[in-house]
Symmetry: C2
Subunit: 413 residues, 2 copies
């Protein structure tokens, strides 16, 4: 179990935003005591009636009891739910049958307090792997969780593990002229923090969307948002993104993805998801640089994304960022090891506005001093053109610092 002692706030942190009021959802937090520190570690999101729901879960081969529970409730990745229960401090992952039973009991306890079946309560857990969830601690607080109201920032703090700042994002949009709101929170720093699992994100809108439409919107946005960020390439057993639509805004119900009234809303939702995803990078363990990697001229968007990910996850590239070194040789190395179609005689590498390589050679007029000055910025952009097509993709990442090694290596020593 983590001591819960706070780490220094990331230098890349952003303030928690002012968020609009989303109709049809109430939040409440409580302390189950999974941490020694006096902090809330439970969050219940309860919906008026049943909210439409769509989710994206870890593709991790091992998984966890709460992810299994949600997948069973949302067999096609969408459905409806009355409430969403999240705990921090214990991932209930790699806990076998006893873990599955503990998850079911915690859903039942909250369902009993709400007056609904356990099956209408979704679950997420984050924290230590391999420790059975002590669900009695949750049942003891179920009564407190179904009354009163916490704000989004309190909610974000209650689900944090090694996060150094609470992560929230929101937007207002409209559907057929009626205002709708979108708010969300997320947690995660390394893809897995010290002995902890998990990226979690929960987004609620008061638009009225069918579960199927919601699922399509989430699946479409995921590759450009949560799947476009990487801290260390490590994926957790518990990663979960769930989006809920309460329908309480009074806006017209939407049940077709092609409905033109959905266009501004879809863009706003993607913006909220991207905002949350980028905050995960800003809290990357030990991060001091926020880096956008853009790959252009690729054969396909998927190919561009694989090349960008190869760059973003290369330890040699990431340590060069930490050292403020415009080491384009390592970028070239990472492009090549992606094993994707590239034309090395047309390969170009740019750091912000400065060309490092053009057409497969060092750029004429390469200016080491200007490059070094650029690399001292806190936010960097690296653009690569691989010269074989028209497709592009962006990936966001951070640098790899001694502090990352200290956080992840010195943890128990």
């Amino acid at each position: 179990m983590s001591s819960g002692a706070p780490l220094p706030v990331s230098p890349l942190a952003v303030p928690f935003p002012a968020l609009p009021k989303v109709a049809g959802v109430r939040l409440q937090t409580a302390r189950a005591g999974f941490y020694a520190a006096a902090r809330d570690d439970l969050l219940l999101m309860r919906f008026e009636g049943e909210a439409a729901c769509a989710g994206v879960f870890t593709r991790h081969g091992v998984g966890s009891a709460p992810v299994d529970w949600c997948k069973a409730r949302l067999p096609q990745g969408h459905g409806r739910a009355r409430a969403m229960l999240i705990n921090a401090g214990c991932a209930n992952s790699f806990t076998g049958e006893p873990g599955a039973a503990a998850a079911a009991r915690s859903a039942a306890a909250v369902g009993a307090a709400l007056g609904c079946p356990a099956e209408e309560v979704l679950l997420a857990s984050t924290g230590v792997i391999g420790v059975l969830l002590d669900d009695a601690r949750i049942a003891a607080r179920a009564g407190d969780l179904v009354q009163g109201e916490a704000d989004w920032e309190q909610a974000a703090r209650a689900i944090s593990t090694t996060d150094t700042f609470p992560k929230g994002a929101g937007a207002t949009s409209e559907i057929g002229g009626v205002p709708v709101r979108i708010c969300g929170i997320a947690k995660g720093s390394g893809m897995i923090a010290p002995n902890m699992a998990t990226m979690l994100a929960f987004v609620v809108t008061d638009a009225a969307l069918s579960p199927g439409v919601l699922k399509s919107l989430v699946r479409r946005a995921a590759p450009r948002t949560f799947n476009a960020v990487t801290v260390d390439g490590d994926r957790s057993t518990n990663d979960t993104l769930l989006v809920f639509a309460t329908g309480a805004s009074g806006a017209a119900p939407i049940s077709r993805l092609s409905d033109p009234r959905l266009i501004p809303f879809a863009a706003a939702l993607e913006g909220v998801l991207l905002d949350l995803a980028l905050q995960l990078v800003r809290d990357g363990e030990g991060a001091t640089k926020f880096v956008k990697i853009s790959v252009e001229g690729a054969r396909s968007e998927a190919s561009a994304r694989r090349i960008a990910r190869s760059i973003a996850e290369s330890p040699l590239v990431k340590t060069a960022f930490a050292g403020e070194d415009a080491n384009w040789g390592r970028i070239v190395m990472a492009v090549g090891k992606a094993d994707e179609p590239v034309d090395r005689t047309r390969l170009c590498v740019r750091f912000g506005p400065l060309w490092a390589a053009r057409d497969g050679k060092v750029a004429s007029g390469y200016d080491e001093a200007a490059m070094s000055a650029y690399m001292k910025r806190q936010e960097l952009e690296v653009a690569v053109d691989v010269g074989v097509g028209e497709a592009r993709a962006d990936i966001w990442t951070c640098d790899l610092t001694k502090q990352y090694v200290a956080i992840n290596g010195d943890y128990r020593s």
Copy 2:
């Protein structure tokens, strides 16, 4: 260009071995001056007559002029050669047509000194990426390289870049009762050292093997030797393994892979390749732990290797080794993210003799104190059984330390 200033010797270093005399090859080193420091940076291996030759090159999509040169000389991965020229200090990678011309001129200069066509001289380069090879510096020393003789340790030192110790291995074997010798050298620390490219390895035997047999032996051994080690998962533009057979031992020529006289020799050759490959891990940048990852119970050997590699290349696993933390939760995470067939209800994780997890749960009798004591060792073994088959594979790696970040991040600062 690197200053050539020496790094502290790796705590995992092994002494350079006493090596047998291989008939039919002579080595010579010289200083071209690619480094400011007074050190040799050229090696010529010259063979009596033509040696059979087989190679494995980087699958890197960008490649380099010397790799292109060798591939053109050995279109099927095998052939014959009179000499092998290696330089350190300049990788001649990402240098376009001028780089290819410089490579050709350096081969021609050595060929002229030896009295053979340029095409009979193979090339390898290691050092800075994106800098054109100054081949005049090599031509100026060609005359010196074709006379006299250096030993294997001098040869290993001449091709080093950021290596902290010279790497050599050898064996004696027999073919049809006649003694044969195998000697080799290698260089490399990170897969790419600071702004440097490359793993290079050169092995010479005085057995008489056809180029095709030699190629088959090398291809068969590569997945279990050089392709079974990883420092940071980064691959270079110049990685090259070349094996030569001079035939000067007097042993019977072998031209069929199924020849039973080849059996002891094949095992000895694989032993030399593995020895060299493991020395690369022992010189992993910043490494303090030498770790063998064994995956058993997999669906296929390739699947076992992919799972082992996922574990070995996970930053969270590698930092846990650095922190002497038996963090089996991270091992489970890395197994899962490999997206290979595993049965999570049968998953077992063992550190040396100590079970951490069995049948998908923490092992009964898990002893944290015993585990912590084990993790303090310099050489560690992690074994994972994924419970779906009979296949197995080993991967060797090292830990990820603050020193790795310092070496690769502080380089130019």
